[in-house]
């Protein structure tokens, strides 16, 4: 399956913090980048996410901003 959202960061789940309907999942790539995702707790359960697992952080291009100096 292919998804239109083009940005992917492949890494390991290093933490899952759940509170009511929302959860925060942290993913660290081999290159040392960190991505924090706020997703629903239902999605954490449905995907069976666990720490140490390899996942993709996926981001739509319209949700990316650019900052310079």
């Amino acid at each position: 399956m292919a998804l239109s959202a083009r940005n992917r960061l492949t890494g390991e789940v290093t933490s899952i913090e759940t509170s009511g309907p929302t959860a925060e999942v942290t993913v660290e790539t081999e290159g040392g980048e960190t991505a924090a995702a706020v997703i629903t707790t239902d999605s954490v359960d449905r995907l069976g996410l666990s720490e140490g697992e390899t996942v993709d952080a996926v981001i739509k291009a319209t949700d990316v901003m650019v900052r310079n100096n």
Copy 2:
């Protein structure tokens, strides 16, 4: 200045494709990650973005999804 959006990927602008009010900016990190951003052409001009420049791709945690196998 500090921004609440937590996710940042620092890299080099490798392409800027502009078309009317929107533009697509591609950023490549040292570790080999690529981020595509769709921003307004006004922002490309206001920031004076140019290829080869070092920038941050910035993403709000609520805009990050997680995918596994």
Copy 3:
């Protein structure tokens, strides 16, 4: 593969309108719902999207609003 974005509408691509870096894709479900997606032209090409094809429109729960009377 499983994705944290929970909302999916399965339907047929009824139109693809491309203009520079962005494209608008319309999907119609069997039940008569219509979903309009603005994605990058690169994604249209990468997925090889064509009219008449069956696809999923996918939406993150934090991007859904509710309206009542």
Copy 4:
């Protein structure tokens, strides 16, 4: 009143799960589609949302992704 966000799914509120500042609202259409929305608890209160009520789930086209096989 008319809103620029083009995607609407009309259906019945089948559940409201509230936790602190955020709530998850589930809407089911007559055709059997389900939409999950994460909105603020303030909005649940302000709209006076209740289970069984008919509402629209509303989504901006830039927030819709497309997935195929």
Copy 5:
């Protein structure tokens, strides 16, 4: 009708720049705030938006970031 998206800025449409499927609409409030919206050209047409008209710029709370010094 009431919408869960809580943030509204009421002002006058001061410009509409259209290019293919997307358009940029600028709204200025009485208090001097400016809001730029990228919406679909279809929505500009459907709403019959015109310069000088009074509209609301509407934003979901999960799409707002905070920045300090």
Copy 6:
């Protein structure tokens, strides 16, 4: 530093409501506009946000909708 997200509302933090991984921050401008932001609690801590402080509410143009009568 300059950020591509073009919309800014400068104002005072009038409330911070935290619950687990998410928090709601309310900002009021001098002109009387109010902006509600749902951000992560980690960001509230990292920025050291406090009531009475002057901040910017920042919003990407693709996240702004338009509504008229």
